[in-house]
Symmetry: C2
Subunit: 267 residues, 2 copies
């Protein structure tokens, strides 16, 4: 095994059929084999070789493809599963995670009813207030890493729980990847918006950052949420990312917290 072990320590790019040419340009950048495998798998996910919901090849197949042991592939997959990009199912295979799964819908929504759980509360009703293409403001452009004036799509909507309007939010999406997104598409599609983004636009949100503040309801927001102007609301600004840390959505929400709360786990 001595020679194999030595050969295994090769820089990314020298692996299997995924070689990308110039490997030694500048940075030394050696990394563990399983990290290289992880990067290759990530690349396949990103390029759509396997789509959300699909099964990826078995560990044995991948081990053969990359010329490494199954254990090394396993460790790479373990990390991708920990990042919620893949889902392992014993006896069945390993699958590309999707926002369309029944169990983990609204994975990014942290608002919960004060009493009872989401299932008891029932599904949210959604009302799309608008959807229009526009030019990115400096602020939106900065968040989405675009140039000011680039095309973006803005969506406004209200989510209601048990008939009570609870969330008012605006979304901004880069115009390129979301070409063809219309009010029609949004109102017609059932299920979470992120599931729509996956199936119709091939954009999978894998991670997000939120910034919360307490603010007073302005007149317009107060009307939409049916509260008195000045009522304290939770302001939630979200930046959502696809693979490789590319920002793909800016979202600004106002949450009523009279019957709900934002829940967070600290590890």
């Amino acid at each position: 095994m001595k020679s194999d072990s030595t050969l295994a320590r090769r820089p990314a790019g020298a692996l299997g059929d995924a070689g990308s040419g110039a490997a030694g340009a500048g940075a030394p950048a050696f990394s563990p084999l399983y990290q290289q495998i992880k990067a290759l798998l990530l690349q396949s996910l990103q390029q759509g070789e396997w789509k959300p919901g699909d099964a990826i090849p078995s560990e044995q197949e991948l081990a053969a493809r990359f010329r490494v042991s199954q254990g090394t592939v396993r460790k790479a997959i373990d990390e991708l599963a920990a990042d919620n990009l893949l889902v392992r199912r014993q006896g069945k295979g390993t699958f590309v995670a999707t926002h369309a799964e029944q169990q983990v819908q609204y994975r990014f929504l942290r608002l919960h009813p004060d009493h009872g759980d989401r299932d008891q509360e029932g599904p949210a009703t959604r009302e799309i207030l608008g959807c229009r293409r526009m030019r990115a403001s400096a602020e939106v452009a900065a968040a989405l890493q675009l140039r000011p004036g680039d095309a973006v799509v803005q969506v406004s909507r209200v989510l209601s729980f048990q008939g009570v309007p609870t969330i008012l939010e605006d979304l901004w999406l880069p115009g390129g990847p979301f070409r063809g997104l219309t009010l029609e598409t949004l109102t017609t599609h059932p299920g979470p918006m992120y599931a729509l983004f996956e199936s119709q636009f091939g954009v999978r949100m894998v991670r997000a950052e939120e910034r919360l503040k307490a603010v007073a309801a302005g007149d317009a927001a107060a009307r939409r949420l049916q509260v008195a102007p000045g009522t304290p609301l939770l302001s939630v600004e979200r930046l959502a990312y696809t693979y490789n840390g590319v920002p793909m959505e800016l979202r600004r929400g106002l949450y009523r917290t009279d019957r709900h709360h934002y829940r967070n786990e600290l590890g």
Copy 2:
């Protein structure tokens, strides 16, 4: 290896010198070996065999002690490290995590300055408003899994950033484990409160849940935080747990969010 593999599949309790007698009473409860090892390590942590900051025995030693392979111990430690209970340091050893480390201070505080980072902002100044022993209300008792009327310690304090009072919070701690906690102790001790709890009371907080709401400042809170009554504030209710899911602290905070925000990562 056939016979070894078979022997390895034994119920918890039949392992090494950690045997606890009756193993087959009722539940079948078989679990992977590494989970059993993890439980045993957890038990040692809980019982204080290794204190925060200490190094635990090497993987080889633990493997010998539990009569399993190093790989199995490794997997158990991996999970404990993922839960932030242990910290691995290559070349040095594996250590019991502590809230006293410089790098990860305020691990549970999610409030960040809007501009710049915490380091630029400098450390918070703390003012203890009060510390008294009292009987648990029904609400506090329920949260801490005590009986109403049991002894608890209540602490009130204000945290200021750059001279601006920003966080006003009340804490309730179970009277038993925190016997001897006084205003004197609190005001004297430098560093995070959770570090004090570790060193003086042997209570290590490992996990917490928070519930956030937007509320209007009452008169008393407004005075303490130097804002106008009715100003929207972020209400943060935290329940913090030690090992094995035992709740050890209830905390109710009001955060000013005019120059700060609550930051959250969604995976």
